[in-house]
């Protein structure tokens, strides 16, 4: 490992966190120097010093190897988690070490699972820091780093190839160098638009900024205890549905649609599959809510059903009602949509609907091959012909995803799992959805889970956010014999 290049680039990632800590100090100052000001200031000083330290010695960026690239990605995330937990740990309150770590990992990975029972009792600056972790994590710590690295640097290309989902790179013929900018532009536009929409719908500026960070990152942290339900406004709920849906669509596709002012790119087969699935599952969920014994009006049933389906599919995790009192079928629907989630190239987590399409097509082709062994079939996705080498990594990823859910659930059970959330919690964490069903549902939290189980869930969140391979690559490079 080249420590010079790794330390310098991890330093950049930490400086981004330090910048947002400083902004949170500003919020604290505006809010009458609340109780989180000193913890945030200390955290900023420590993070800034550690981030800037390598710059004293490492001036030029040497060439980056593949191993270094994976190391930069893994360490950037890990150190962001550690330093991001400092404001919580230093502030105290409900945050012991494990809770601070959980909240930090959940924030940076844009999972949105929380241990907090009373968010509104937190100082505003800490709530802002919480939302900022979503903002940083939504775009990806490494994408922030890439925005700073000069465009001509060969390192940029290599890191971009590693950080961005392999599926998102294939589309829209944009080079990796430009992809980073497209991601950043679309992301920032989403933040700005959602902020303005929330303001127009009657939110105050603080709630609007926190929720716009959260919805754009597909995170789910809210500044209110009852999430979106606390606003009691169908307009805000509909705005949230729209932005949750938009942020779960490929950013390149949105960019091309906007740049060409044509709806042609929206005829993408993956997007069509995604939208049709969302509509079908929303209708089934809403109807099952309507015909349950919850005595909901048609409008409320459809709003609740659609909101939660989009919230879980986009891995955002906002809540509009308490789904722990829902019947079994809509709960099952929510768990089902949190498996495949949104499109690749967006801020969503999970397996990605692109992989689901590839998997279904591969299964169909296999059945056809079994029925007609002598026929040669070709698999198409839009205009593109998919070969075995295109399909293989995605099918392998799906297998690995489910294997990890299984391992994580078994580990949780080994450590007791007193609340019976081993499977649903592992799935919600690995898919970066955040809330699941039951007491960890849309209005619940993870506070009752034991420390070890919280740690397992945070490991799942990390693996899910970086799409497993980089972490495995780092581990294998550490333990591999020379």
């Amino acid at each position: 490992m080249n420590l010079k290049v790794v330390s310098r680039n991890v330093g950049i990632a930490l400086l981004v966190s330090a910048l947002f800590m400083l902004l949170s100090v500003g919020v604290s100052f505006l809010d009458g120097r609340d109780s989180a000001m000193t913890p945030l200031l200390i955290s900023f000083a420590i993070t800034f010093i550690v981030g800037i330290f390598p710059f004293i010695f490492v001036r030029k960026i040497p060439r980056i190897s593949l191993k270094d690239g994976y190391m930069i990605i893994a360490l950037s995330w890990l150190l962001s988690f550690i330093f991001g937990a400092l404001p919580y740990a230093l502030w105290g309150g409900p945050f012991n070490i494990m809770n601070a770590w959980f909240e930090s990992v959940s924030g940076f990975t844009a999972t949105g699972a929380t241990i907090l029972e009373d968010i509104e009792s937190l100082p505003r600056s800490l709530v802002f820091w919480r939302a900022s972790t979503h903002f940083i994590g939504g775009l990806g710590v490494v994408v922030f780093l890439l925005l700073i690295i000069p465009t001509s640097s060969p390192m940029r290309l290599r890191l971009a190839n590693m950080e961005l989902s392999s599926l998102s790179r294939d589309d829209y013929k944009s080079r990796a160098n430009r992809t980073v900018y497209i991601f950043a532009y679309v992301y920032l536009v989403m933040v700005a638009l959602s902020f303005l929409s929330y303001l127009a719908a009657g939110m105050n500026w603080f709630d609007a900024i926190c929720h716009s960070f959260s919805v754009s990152a597909s995170g789910g942290f809210s500044s209110r205890n009852l999430s979106i339900a606390s606003f009691n406004s169908p307009v805000i709920a509909i705005i949230t549905i729209v932005f949750m849906l938009l942020t779960s669509i490929h950013f390149g596709l949105l960019f091309v649609t906007f740049a060409t002012r044509s709806v042609k790119p929206l005829r993408n087969p993956i997007l069509r599959f995604y939208l049709v699935s969302i509509v079908v599952i929303s209708v089934v969920t809403s109807l099952s809510l309507k015909f349950s014994n919850m005595d909901l009006s048609w409008g409320k049933a459809f709003l609740d059903g659609t909101f939660h389906v989009v919230s879980y599919a986009s891995t955002t995790g906002f809540g509009l009602s308490d789904n722990s009192v829902w019947p079994v079928l809509p709960c099952f629907m929510l768990v089902f949509v949190s498996l495949f989630c949104g499109c690749a190239g967006s801020t969503t987590g999970g397996l990605k609907v692109d992989r689901a399409v590839v998997l279904f097509k591969a299964i169909r082709m296999q059945i056809q091959k079994t029925l007609n062994p002598s026929t040669i079939y070709e698999m198409r996705l839009g205009k593109r012909i998919l070969h075995d080498e295109d399909i293989y990594p995605h099918v392998l990823y799906i297998a690995m995803f489910f294997m990890l859910v299984g391992i994580s659930a078994i580990l949780c059970m080994l450590f007791g799992d007193p609340n019976g959330h081993a499977l649903t919690g592992s799935l919600a964490s690995l898919a970066n959805v955040g809330p699941s069903i039951g007491t960890i549902g849309s209005m619940g939290n993870y506070n009752a889970e034991p420390g070890v189980i919280k740690f397992i869930f945070t490991a799942d969140m990390f693996l899910g956010r970086v799409e497993i391979y980089p972490v495995l690559a780092v581990f294998s490079s550490i333990f591999r014999r020379k």
Partner: protein, 286 residues
Amino acid sequence: MIIFAFMFARLRNWWREFRLSLRIKITLSMSAIAIVLLMSSIISILEYKRMSNYVSDMIADDIRNIHVAQRLVDAVDTYNLQVLAVIGDDKLSSLPDFDRTGFLSYCDSLRAGFGEGNVIPMADSVLYAYSAYMLASMELEDVLQSNFIDTRDWYFTRLQPLFGRLRAYLDRLSGEMYAELQQNSENFDSGFYRSIIPGTVAVAVGILLVFLLMFFILAYYVNPIYKMHRSLGDFLKYRHRYTYTFDSSDQLGDLNADVMELTEENRALRRRNSALRDSNKTEDES
């Protein structure tokens, strides 16, 4: 926007051309470590002071609350014994007196001492039971004056159950207070655990920076000096060319470039010298 972009471009160019000297690099890195260590010590002192105040206040409050609860029990017991004595004597002249203001102020101080939890509801229950007991005990004078009420019967059927209830509530209040004290002690444990975190983190960061500094000094100064020394030795011993270069933007890099230049000049001089010597030899021979 244009001004911002212009300023950013200027800043970027300045940063590209900006070079830190060896002295500044060492000073900055050492200062960074010193700041982190200073912060860790300040945090530790502040936390120690906070914990020390917290512990003193907590112990003082606990002692005061236990003392107050004991006084309440004593006051009620003493009054009840006095009532029993009056009933035993059957004399109206020595009616017992109860310090009601003191009792109520003790209850209020208990309520104020505990912000939340079960102590306050229990203190309220004590007050209700106390009111009932006091109302009943006020009947004592009438009971003693009356000819047709049996005083002892009145005590056992009317006053004693109320006393028993008040006493039970006082016992439960003490129990709740001990539970609160236990909770305080547990909070203190977690608070103490938390108070050492900032210092520990700052020290850990300090250690991390020390290791990073060690690595950078080894990578950027010690190893190049060793290699320069070896290359220079090879040049002197075996007349190998001095070709060692390394990535540096400070005086060590300049020094290496100077050494390379000097060795090249030296080589050129030697070559010229030997060429001159050869030409002199040829001239001598001819």
